[in-house]
């Protein structure tokens, strides 16, 4: 599936819920299935700045696709990064760079999109895209 298709799938899943509590509970569930970053990559360098909780992200190229792993010490943040990684992992760097992120709004997490929000969802998206830019440069 391409990024747009995965995002649509995530939006479909979240549309089943009537209220925020169910959405958050599902997000927390998704956090539990996050592909975990290996301990050796949990370094200061891999921490995303701008989050009140700690978020580590690691990226690796497998053939021409970028594979992300991550972790967080806060469970909601873990859910958010899990959703992002599900949408962006195992994709070509250029597709990640080009992808839009409006699906975050559609799944009812709009409040997390404010750049001043302490959880740093915006920082997370930026960081994933920065990885994509770096690896795209390498591929070129």
């Amino acid at each position: 599936m391409n990024i747009a298709e995965i995002q649509e799938e995530i939006v479909d899943e979240f549309s089943m819920f009537d209220d925020w509590m169910q959405r958050y509970e599902y997000m927390i569930e998704l956090g539990k299935s996050l592909p975990l970053i290996q301990e050796q990559y949990k370094t200061e360098n891999n921490i995303i700045k701008g989050c009140q909780s700690k978020v580590w992200v690691h990226a690796e190229l497998e053939d021409d696709k970028l594979v992300f792993t991550a972790d967080s010490d806060a469970i909601i943040t873990k859910g958010i990064i899990a959703i992002l990684i599900r949408a962006f992992s195992h994709q070509r760097p250029q597709d990640i760079i080009d992808a839009d992120t409006e699906f975050i709004d559609e799944i009812g997490l709009k409040e997390h999109l404010s750049p001043t929000r302490a959880n740093g969802l915006v920082s997370m998206i930026k960081q994933l895209k920065l990885y994509a830019i770096a690896y795209q440069t390498q591929l070129n």
Partner: protein, 408 residues
Amino acid sequence: MIDSKIDILKIRKDFPILNREVNGKPLVYFDNAATSQTPQQVIDVIVDYYENYNANIHRGVHSLSQEATDAYENAREKIRNHFNIAHAHEVIFTSGTTHGINLVANGFTGLLKKGDEILVSAMEHHSNIVPWQMLCERTGAVLRIIPMNREGELIMEVFHDMLSEKVKLVFCNHISNALGTINPIKEIIDAAHKVGAAVLVDGAQAAPHIKADLQDLDVDFYTVSAHKMCGPTGIGMLYGKSEWLKTLPPYQGGGEMIAEVTFEKTTYADLPHKFEAGTPNVCGGIAFGAALDYMNAIGFEQIAAYENELLQYATSELMKIEGLVIYGTAKEKTSVISFNIKGIHPYDIGTILDKLGIAVRTGHHCAQPIMDFYQIPGTVRASLSFYNTHEEIDKLVAAVEKARNMLL
């Protein structure tokens, strides 16, 4: 202790913001240590200023300027009276506590030398750590830390041992923003003076709860922010003893702070204008005075008694939640409850509480050394004010339990 005779329903009507909803739920505001809400009486003063007598002060010959000047200076007098300060010229208007601390730290640059010591408590806000670190870098003075115990109380025996002729300055908050501890500042001031050290007390968290008598305390500097005590943001007060304020050089240059200017030399204005360069926050100053009037009309003893009642109730109800740990259990503390639930990140709890319409602070509360001391990433902090209710505490407790069930 006196019984609180707070007419809570009447008081809540004074705060229009308490009627609003957040995320579809009635707002429960427990972030009072970050900023307090503003009563209609203060909002009216702000509106009246801009509608009727907005003008630059201390320099116009016209009537509006005179009215604004009178109102502003009248506010200074209210502040002097409230804190029992000897002279109005010892009241310096600032933009807030941080500004006041930086003004003093900057002023001491020329007064310290290598090897001098500065003592600062282990439970300071970053604003009362960083300016002193910068001062040490400029002068070669050494910053030493007064330690605290697990309850969040300063270890006074160690403090007394640290005092020597080398100590030139001591800084301490009156009340800790992260833990709510009321520090024994009278003991600290008296002991510091015996070795000739000056003392600055950060009163930002104390001012909403305690009416400090600054002459009785004999403190050298005391600084507060209006926005923590029902006033607007961007205005605060630095008190300094006359002899200190005369000794310290001006902090900023500009209009208002001068007596005479030629290109060869400028002579500075008398106190307090020497430290009030530029057009001040006139409206803010006047509104600060109105905020003091508002709180004094309720009465600080009444406020303290009621807040203590809320604190005791909230503490005992929260403690019933399994795995909940409270940080800061000093015998003397105000209505601040910093807590975590074992196994849950404070940020997660804060996020769920916000969805339920409850405003708390999460994180390190600009006091990272305290978090390092307890080896935690941060806490959830509920800070209660005199306009909060027992019902709101019940909502908080129910919401924390809900969050716990979702997150564990």
